[in-house]
């Protein structure tokens, strides 16, 4: 799965995106976050559990308990401030 980052999350992680092999027990968006926190110290530091952010699977906004299904991309970003 490709994980994409935007705005201050992208800046603080110092990466736009990353390719990630997911273990079988990673089934939801929340699972991906927990997995990343476990394997990546930078991620755990920048996005601790209390962080307010939003997520999208293949261009659709989703809740954290949404199953990944066949999505190819997970985007992680702060609340939007467009318009």
């Amino acid at each position: 799965m490709i994980i994409r980052y935007f705005a201050w999350i992208r800046e603080r992680l110092n990466r736009d995106e990353q390719q990630l092999e997911l273990p079988d027990n990673v089934k939801t968006v929340q699972d991906v976050l927990n997995h990343l926190r476990a394997i990546d110290e930078d991620f755990a530091f920048v996005l601790p559990p209390e962080t307010v952010f939003r997520a999208a699977l293949d261009d659709e906004l989703v809740e954290l308990d949404t199953p990944l299904g066949s999505a190819k991309e997970l985007s992680i970003f702060p609340p939007m401030t467009g318009g």
Binding site: F77, T81, G82, G83
Partner: protein, 152 residues
């Protein structure tokens, strides 16, 4: 033009030209409501520029969806959205939404509906460049509340 048009671009646009192009050849449209969002600088906290980051594919899809919802909900004849990304100066337009209808209130509601959703659910992030460096703009609870008026 008729129907739905959504454009996301880095280039500056001419707000007035867009209005004139949009209203051309719509003999049944008695009412056009336009919203233009501009880069703003407050005297107490002046900015030099605004940088808008976005998620291109998702932004296009989301805005097309809000536009279609507005057409269905308010029986619009046409709606057009232009949203910029990248760096812009104070006074430049950021976004323009135009809604055409036979009737006045539908046109106002259509443009307002798209703007309310766009503010909270379209993937754009503002970074203000001021004298003391650049900082990301925080989301406002007010915007979230504004969006909810349509589902009451």
């Amino acid at each position: 033009m008729m129907g739905i048009s959504v454009t996301i671009q880095a280039e500056i646009f001419d707000a007035g030209d867009l209005v004139n192009q949009f209203t051309r050849d719509m003999p049944e449209a008695g009412a056009v409501a336009t919203f233009t969002g501009l880069v703003r600088s407050k005297p107490e906290q002046p900015i030099k520029a605004l940088i808008l980051e976005h998620h291109p594919t998702m932004a296009q899809k989301q805005i097309e969806r809000f536009a279609q919802e507005a057409v269905d909900k308010f029986d619009l004849l046409a709606i057009q959205v232009v949203h910029r990304f990248g760096e812009m100066k104070v006074g430049e337009p950021i976004v323009q939404v135009m809604a055409a209808s036979s009737h006045r209130q539908a046109a106002f509601d259509g443009a307002n509906y798209v703007m309310d959703w766009l503010k909270t659910d379209a993937p754009f992030w503002k970074k203000e460049v001021g004298a003391d460096g650049a900082h990301w703009v925080e989301a406002r609870d007010k915007d979230e509340a504004a969006k909810n008026k349509w589902t009451k």
